[in-house]
Symmetry: C2
Subunit: 229 residues, 2 copies
DNA sequence: ACCTGAACACCGTTCAAGT
DNA sequence: ACCTGAACACCGTTCAAGT
C-alpha cells in the first residue's frame, strides 16, 4: 500500500539502517506533518523498511522520542556556539537563549516532546552546563545560579508554555456581547491591544517581542539580585 | 473481568450517568493512578458502565480531557476566591497564584493536560479575566497587562515546566568522575548546593521556594516597569 | 548482522440493537 | 432516554523465521 517511494530510496542502493538515520527520519516526519503523525509504522515507511525493523536500532518508541529531543538539543548547542561569546553575561546569555528559540521555532513539536521526557537529554545537560558556566563567570553565586535556572525554566531553552491564547476566547463563534459581559477585563484589554502594533506579523501579539520582554524582565531581575548581594 | 465493584456502585441503586459524574470519575482516576491510566474503558469501569456508554455524555476522549482541565480550573478559581482580596495588587496576585499552585500540587497530571488542550477552558479564561482586573486596578496599562500575562505564562496558574532535573544528571548510574569531566560547571554548582538547606522536604531543591523566588522576580520586575512609565 | 510476517494486547470510536 | 455487544481501524511491541 506504499503509494510513494520511501524518502531515502532515491539516494542509491539499500544502505543499512542506523539509529541516527532513524532519528533524522523521525525529525523529518515531525517537522512535515506533526508529532502526532509519528508512528512506528510511518517511521518505517520513511526509512524504507518495515516498522518491526526499527526495533533493531531503537529500544522502543520512547527511545525515538528521547532521541529526537536530543537531536534538537544538539542543534540548539550548535546554534548557541555560533553566537558571539564576548561581552557581559547578560548579553551572551540573551543571545544564546534567542538562538535556542530560533531552533525551537523550526521544530514546533519539540516543546511537547521535551515536556514528556522523563530523563534529561545529554545535549540539554550540556546546554545548561554552559549556561551555568556563563553565570558563574558573570559573578553569580552557585545559589543564585540555581535559582536562576528554576526562574528561567524552559525559557532558557527558548520556549514557554502559552496556556492561554487570548484569541481563543474571542473566536468568531463567541459573540462580542457575551464576551464583554462574562470576561469584562479581558475584553477591554483586548479591545485596546488589538489595534496596536500593525507591524506585528503574528496576529494580535508579537510572540517574539513578548518573549524578549519577559526574558529581559528575568535577566534584569537576576542581575539586580546578583549585585545586591 | 471486573475484580472490584465500581467505585460508585455502593452509593445506591443505579443513577443515570451525567457529564459531571463522568468528569469527576476521570479526575479521580488521574489522581489515583496517573493520567496515562485514564482510558475510556477504565473510565467506564469507574462509573460502573461500559466504555461505549460514555459517548452518550461526552463527545470523545478529548472532550473528557477538556472537561477535567475545566474541573481543575474551577477548583483553582474557588481557591483563589478564598484568598484575601484587600491590599496592593502584588500581594493579592501573589496570593492567588500560590493558591492556584496548591491546587495544581493536588493534581500533578493537570499541567500536562492543560498543555495539550487546543481551546482554553472557560474557567481558565475567568481566572485570567480576574487577573487582568487586578492588574488594571493596580495601575497597569492594558499594554503592560498583556506583556505581564505572557511573562507569567503558566506560572500564573501555579506551575512551571521543569525541563531539567539536575538530579537526573547525577543519578546513581552516572559516576561522579565522568560528571565532573563532562559537565564541570553543573557539577560544581551541585556540589555546593546539595548540602544546603537540610530542611528542604523536596530533595536537593525546594520547589516551593524556587517557585516563589521566580514569581517575586517577575512581580517585582513588572512593578518596576509599571511605576517607571 | 540485519530485516520481515504474522500475531497479540490494547487503544478510541461507530453503530445497530436492546430496554 | 439511556445503555450495550460486536466490530473496526489503528496503535506499540514480540518473536520465530528468513537472508
Amino acid at each position: 500500500m506504499q503509494m510513494t517511494a520511501p524518502a531515502e530510496a532515491v539516494t542509491g542502493p539499500r544502505v543499512p539502517l542506523t539509529r541516527q538515520r532513524v532519528l533524522q527520519a523521525a525529525v523529518r516526519i515531525a517537522d512535515k506533518t506533526g508529532i502526532e503523525s509519528l508512528t512506528m509504522r510511518r517511521l518505517g515507511e520513511e526509512v524504507g523498511a518495515e516498522a518491526m525493523s526499527l526495533y533493531y536500532h531503537v529500544a522502543k518508541k520512547d527511545d525515538v522520542l528521547d532521541g529526537i529531543a536530543d537531536v534538537v538539543a544538539e542543534e540548539i548547542n550548535e546554534a548557541a556556539e555560533r553566537v558571539e561569546s564576548t561581552g557581559d553575561w547578560k548579553t551572551v546569555t540573551r543571545g544564546r537563549i534567542l538562538a535556542a528559540r530560533a531552533v525551537m521555532l523550526r521544530h514546533p513539536w519539540a516543546p511537547a516532546v521535551f515536556e514528556t521526557r522523563t530523563t534529561t537529554s545529554p545535549a540539554v545537560l550540556r546546554y545548561y552546563d554552559r549556561l551555568v558556566g556563563l553565570l558563574r563567570e558573570g559573578g553569580f553565586s552557585n545559589d543564585l545560579i540555581h535559582r536562576a535556572l528554576h526562574a528561567l525554566g524552559s525559557r532558557a531553552l527558548g520556549f514557554t508554555q502559552e496556556l492561554f491564547d487570548p484569541e481563543a476566547g474571542a473566536g468568531e463563534d463567541s459573540d462580542a456581547a457575551a464576551l464583554v459581559e462574562n470576561l469584562p477585563s479581558l475584553a477591554s484589554m483586548m479591545a485596546e491591544i488589538a489595534h496596536d502594533d500593525p507591524t506585528s506579523t503574528l496576529g494580535w501579539c508579537d510572540a517574539q517581542a513578548e518573549f524578549e520582554f519577559a526574558l529581559d524582565l528575568l535577566l534584569d531581575g537576576l542581575d539586580r539580585v546578583r549585585t545586591s548581594n
